[in-house]
Amino acid sequence: MRLSLSSRLSVVLALLPALMVMIVVYIGATGWTVWMSLTNSRMLPNNNFVGLRQYESLFGNDRWITSVHNVVIYGVLFVSLALAVGFLLAVAIDQRVRAEDTIRSIYLYPYSMSFVVTGLVWQWLLNPSLGIQHVLRSWGFAGATFDWIVRPERAIYCLVVAGVWQASGLVMAIMLAGLRGIDDEIWKAARIDGLPKWRVYASIVIPMMGASFATAAVLLSTAVVRLYDLSVAMTNGGPGIASEVPAKFVMDHLFERANIGLATAAATTMLVTVIAVVAPYLYWRARKGDIR
């Protein structure tokens, strides 16, 4: 198609803002971040090149190591539990229950809340002197103990619980769409074959739902990488540094501790890690020619 000069100009003008945002905000800011991580910038950015010294101190930093450790625990548990719970909820709804619409809305409701609200709600629930433990004790279960949020080695699991509670509804919606896409005749064939229901789900339905699981897993994974507000609202990284996460490390060093060099080194490390995970997957998808 050949366009006249004026219409070509208008196309360029129309695309320009998006293109500028793309170049300046994404690529530009990313490039600047990487460059800053190679300088000794403190409160204000400077251009004193110091090589990889910021990375050395980053990996000697206890708080960073704890953060990375935490995000791995959180990532594995959050993604797998949210997938499992979301799938089971979808299966439960798919049994032609009454009031399906209402139940679906209730399940999806937590997702409409921000992580900050989610974090606050769960902070109260898990707080030993306010929440579940307090209620149980006031009912007379004097020995009831549920204090994970104040125990350093357990605090991160509280974040997982809150995260799963918030995200399962979304996974449920995606999975339900996948389940509804399965031909009714497959279910009939399975009944004629005499397969028990759980067996049909395990051996036939789940293998058919690869696309739904992939979609949900990608969405959940991005939530893992940018995990920040939940930690801030629920535990503020505590007790001590027990529930610190990488994104919080970056934000704190950038704006509170006035250490731009270290913060950008952490941010760059996160970027490289994500690329290292995603790139082989994209390559594999491209090679496979995208057969579902």
Binding site: I186, K188, I192, D193, G194, L195, R199, P207, M208
Partner: protein
């Protein structure tokens, strides 16, 4: 392989307030090939699903092989089923698709292997056993689905429009294959279709259904030759049967009169005493004969259009009073639009229907 008969007694099925089947009775002999034929929504698939146990009945009984299975689970009914959409398990190989049900049921490995090999060989699937459904053509997929049914060694095989998703040529091939399979296994088969060619070629008996009621249950020949009502007459046969409205003349020699045209009924077997009420004459295009113009029973007609169909041609004509009808004729005959023909309507090939009730007279 056991061959079971199927006996359906006063079956009622409904969804909510909607009655799909009402007081339906049907007996299928062991080793019989019965086709349920009808337009969509006539209840034929509902009936098949009820036999399979996939939908609940409101009342009535279903007996398979002499056993009351009205409330039995599908797997305990001694049936196997083939679906329109093949319904293969997409992520499993052909081998696994065919053997999974047996495995879960705890059939011994060597028995599974034996049945699998037998079915694969019968359906020419041996080469395809390690492929997965998305690597197969539509025809191959349906053969796999048939194979999955065969390994069950069931007493009754149910087919729910198995060929409807295939193109015309594959449909013809697979039709022959199913017929061969029935001859070889001698198993009872119940086959649902809306395609009258499939019904006529495959069936020992056809049950033509409409509105949840079996209109006629008979051999393909009788369904074709002597339809019991206008619905059966018009649903079966392609090109469709011609219908000429008129009435039965009372004057002595039985004849059918439509406008100025008179059709001899000498030799037509009436079911009851003929009346002079308005009636409809039905005749299939291939039964109309071109005759000499001095034939006393000849009916004149004018050719309007010629549709060549390869082996023969379909000639569209009009009677003197303007009624349109078609006839099948030799493709080589030099007929053109505007020609006048003298036609004979052999009485023994005619069907007469009451104009109001549509019932055969």
């Amino acid at each position: 392989m056991q061959r079971a008969n199927v006996d359906i007694r006063s079956l009622r099925i409904g969804f909510g307030g909607l009655k799909v089947l009402d007081n339906l009775n049907l007996h299928v002999e062991a080793s019989e090939f019965l086709v349920l034929l009808g337009p969509s929504g006539c209840g034929k698939s509902t009936l098949l699903n009820a036999i399979a146990g996939l939908i609940d009945v409101k009342s009535g009984e279903i007996h398979i092989g002499g056993r009351d299975v009205t409330w039995a689970e599908p797997k305990d009914r001694g049936i196997a089923m083939v679906f329109q959409s093949y319904a293969l398990y997409p992520r499993m190989t052909v081998r696994k698709n065919m053997s999974f049900g047996l495995q879960v049921a705890g059939t011994p490995q060597d028995e599974i292997g034996r049945r699998l090999g037998e079915a694969a060989q019968m359906l020419r699937l041996t080469e395809l056993l390690d492929r997965r459904p998305f690597e197969l053509s539509g025809g191959q997929r349906q053969r796999v689905a048939i194979g999955r049914a065969l390994v069950r060694h069931a007493g009754v095989y149910l087919f729910d429009e198995p060929l409807s998703n295939l193109d015309a040529q594959l449909r013809a091939e697979l039709r022959v294959e199913i017929k061969r399979l029935h001859a070889r296994l001698g198993a009872t088969m119940i086959y649902v279709t809306h395609d009258q060619i499939e019904a006529l070629t495959l069936a020992d008996r056809i049950a033509v259904m409409q509105g949840g009621v079996i209109q006629q249950l008979d051999t393909p020949k009788m369904i074709y030759r002597a339809p019991v009502n206008r619905f059966v007459a018009s649903f079966v046969g392609s090109p469709a049967m011609n219908f000429i409205p008129g009435s039965i003349a009372r004057d002595g020699g039985a004849a059918f009169v439509a406008g100025t045209s008179r059709f001899s009924l000498n030799g037509y077997v009436f079911r009851g005493p003929p009346t002079d009420a308005p009636a409809v004459l039905g005749i299939r295009p291939e039964h109309v004969e071109v005759t000499a113009s001095d034939d006393p029973f000849a009916v004149p007609a004018r050719v309007e259009m010629v549709e060549p169909m390869g082996a023969d041609s379909l000639i569209w004509c009009r009677l003197a009073d303007g009624t349109a009808f078609s006839l099948r004729h030799d493709a080589d005959a030099p007929l053109r639009a505007g020609d006048t023909l003298a036609l004979r309507f052999p009485p023994e090939t005619l069907s007469l229907f009451d104009d109001k009730s549509g019932q055969r007279l």
